[in-house]
Symmetry: C2
Subunit: 459 residues, 2 copies
């Protein structure tokens, strides 16, 4: 067999591959909402069955949350582990979707065909590029090109609470020569990239309580503390006039970028105006004197992801609420310590509380930033394979998102991880009308076939 | 007949009166939510039928919103108009109610029997005290004690949008010698009072838009403007360190209280500690160097009644929202001009907007404060009648709430209005578990019988 036969098989089976992905997308596996627990389970079952169809003996493995799917296949050459996640983000606001998020379809658009639906890009579509590459190998050669471990998670969109314990308990089973992670994108929607810098993530849910019941603002307005006002003052105080985060010690461990990395990033000719213009913005809103690319790849942030308090329905209600709450998250870089920042944030909030107010905190995840070493020969092998498939040469890049599993592979298993993905900037992941370009799905699958071929030859 | 016969009839028919009120409370006439439009209509029909049962020819009168109920009965002596409202507040948060808010019941409590349910105090229970007093007159004497106009509104809890146009269009029909309004309370839950100062109310719904769609905070966090942060900064900036409102010109027209009124209020021995302690607070949170009684009766406020933005469901979602919005209201005193304050508030918000953000405003009501003249002889007649019924003598007081209709009677019809009500501070109006003491209902009904008797004799 030759790589060309496998690529030809991928081309010939694109419709079949798409149908399989649509099946998986129809399962509403929203991990953060307990109402969808059974659906997460169903998505795991679907993957176990699909892996069986390409000769991989896989199992659903229980955790205190949603199950992992782990499968192994023996083979010659290096041992690679592939990671993806089968859970998806919530779909609200539902009224902004043009179709049922769990009734996916192929849509024609001016920019080409897209697969529309929740999870099409993040991460079911990406996960299936690797599975479909393996299927082509299996169908052409009767086996996979090397020894492979499949490792699918169902809690990535809700902070991966079971991941570290599971990796620790099954460390021997999950060790490999290199880990492959498909949950990132093409740089600027066209340059294939291997992500080597990832931000960490710390989440905090903060609830402020003032009076012990909702009050009438006619009777108590002026005399009672208002928790919405207290929460607003806390949020307003989290940044200074220069856009810097004020939480004490927040910038401990935030490195300045080496000149060579700055130089490499400048060479990428990032389209700052287009990046912001795509979402209706004209200028970067973060720290002064930083470019948008720095802001999202190498600078830490503090953002408010949600806020609620008082009456939020139709019309007006002159209530003074008892409580107001916000979901606040921090993106971390360098060696920032999420646990130290959590404590410092909580102390800051306590220091801002007026009399008669209390604050309750609920933590959601705390993962440090990751920085990959590109010394492992697999990095250059994969970069060559990606450059062969795409019109532009592949690049090493950063990523503003948080994929803590890359760090865990190194810390827990001692395995280097490569983050390679085919999403585009306009895929609307986490937003209404999420899509995955059919080109991403097709060339992504071909990319994995090439990478597996290169890695197998390298060994 | 004597007043005593009427009072005896009220005592004998208390169970019947209570049953009628429970019937009215079962109608979920929430005016602010369009989903309850038909229920508001049903409450108006119920009142028309009930008035007919005491010989009053009443009609449901259409408006662009919910209907008015207007009824007339001829009679000797002075012509009084009675106003109440049949609409009620929304019931959320529903999970904090101990019973279905629209399945009312009489409950035994350590402090005596209460009528529990939405609207029991505000304002259906209060409205029915007057109707039941009239019923007793009708049953004992075959007629009402004087000429009476009944005027019930169905939009009081949603800013009374149709009230002024309706009063202007029907000014001749609604004119009377004095207007009686039952939508206030006993002072400190025990002293009968006639309210002579009422705060005005201005409502604004503010929506901040940043990016044109919800974004992923991993991809855009740091670079994109966050409308929740912008809104929080706007809200935080509405008050200074001394608790004063910063909107330019806000204090224009806010008078200092005359010494004699301050003296009279001090004589009321307001229980500041108990007032705050009842709701879990220990100190007044408003302007420094003002007592809580001043804050709620004679000082203006700016409060946030609701806020929402981003993801507010279970778990966590790292979204950067496109929009965030708040419901903000101002309580007004003296001659503060609601329209000027609205414009100044909107200009303040515009001045706080960073690049790439827009603000949308939606106004909800704009009524100035009211100050009654107590020169009309009906005031002293009513004060005497109330003092006869209750253990403590009646007082002239202020009210932190906004009942703009009192000002409209004077401005539009040239009629003085008396605000007399029997609610207690712990009635939880606008909150879960609203109640009306059976004593308020019973002695309130007896109070109106005495007041009508005194007014009829005065003429």
């Amino acid at each position: 067999m030759s790589l060309d036969d496998v690529l030809a098989r991928i081309d010939a089976d694109l419709d079949g591959a798409t149908d399989r992905l649509l099946e998986l997308l129809r399962i509403p596996s929203i991990s953060t909402d307990p109402a969808y627990k059974a659906e997460c389970d169903r998505a795991a079952d679907w993957l176990v069955a699909d892996l069986a169809s390409i000769g991989v003996k896989a199992e659903k493995r229980p955790t205190p949350g949603h199950p992992m799917v782990v499968g192994h296949v023996e083979g010659d050459g290096p041992h690679v582990l592939f990671y993806g996640h089968y859970d998806v983000q919530p779909v609200d606001p539902l009224n902004l979707w043009d179709r049922d998020p769990f009734d996916p379809a192929i849509e024609e658009t001016p920019a080409g065909k897209v697969i529309r639906g929740r999870g099409s890009s993040d991460d079911k579509g990406q996960l299936m590029t690797f599975v479909e590459a393996c299927r082509a190998y299996h169908e052409v050669t009767g086996k996979l090109p090397c020894r492979i471990t499949f490792f699918f998670e169902g809690e990535e969109e809700s902070g991966s609470p079971s991941l570290v314990p599971f990796m620790k308990e099954n460390a021997e089973e999950l060790k490999s020569d290199v880990a492959l992670i498909c949950d990132t994108g093409l740089f600027q929607s066209k340059t294939p990239s291997i992500v080597t810098m990832l931000r960490g993530l710390l989440g905090e849910q903060l609830t402020i309580t003032g009076p012990d019941k909702d009050l009438h603002s006619g009777m108590y307005g002026g005399a009672s503390i208002n928790p919405i006002r207290v929460l607003s003052r806390i949020i307003a105080g989290l940044h200074d006039d220069q856009g810097r985060v004020t939480v004490p010690g927040f910038y401990d461990g935030v490195p300045e970028l080496p000149d060579e990395i700055m130089e490499q990033w400048r060479g990428l000719n990032f389209d700052h105006a287009g990046f912001l213009g795509d979402v209706g913005l004209s200028q970067p809103a973060g720290e002064q004197d930083r470019s948008a690319l720095e802001m999202i790849w190498s600078r830490p942030t503090c953002e408010v992801n949600g806020i609620i308090g008082g009456y939020t329905g139709e019309g007006f209600k002159t209530v003074l609420p008892s409580q107001a709450s916000a979901k606040i998250s921090f993106r971390l870089v360098g060696t920032q310590d999420p646990h130290a920042i959590r404590e410092s944030f909580r102390a800051y909030v306590q220091s801002m509380l007026p009399p008669d107010c209390t604050a309750d905190f609920h933590g959601h995840g705390a993962s440090p930033a990751s920085q990959m070493s590109t010394d492992h020969p697999a990095f250059e092998a994969a970069r060559g394979a990606l450059s062969d498939e795409w019109p532009e040469d592949a690049a090493y890049t950063g990523c503003g998102g948080s994929i803590p599993i890359a760090g865990y592979f190194k810390q827990i298993l001692g395995t280097d991880a490569m983050l390679i993905g085919f999403a585009k900037d306009n895929d609307q992941i986490h937003s209404p009308n999420e899509k995955y370009d059919l080109e991403s799905f097709h060339k992504g699958t071909r990319s994995w076939a090439r990478i597996l071929d290169a890695l197998a030859k390298k060994a």
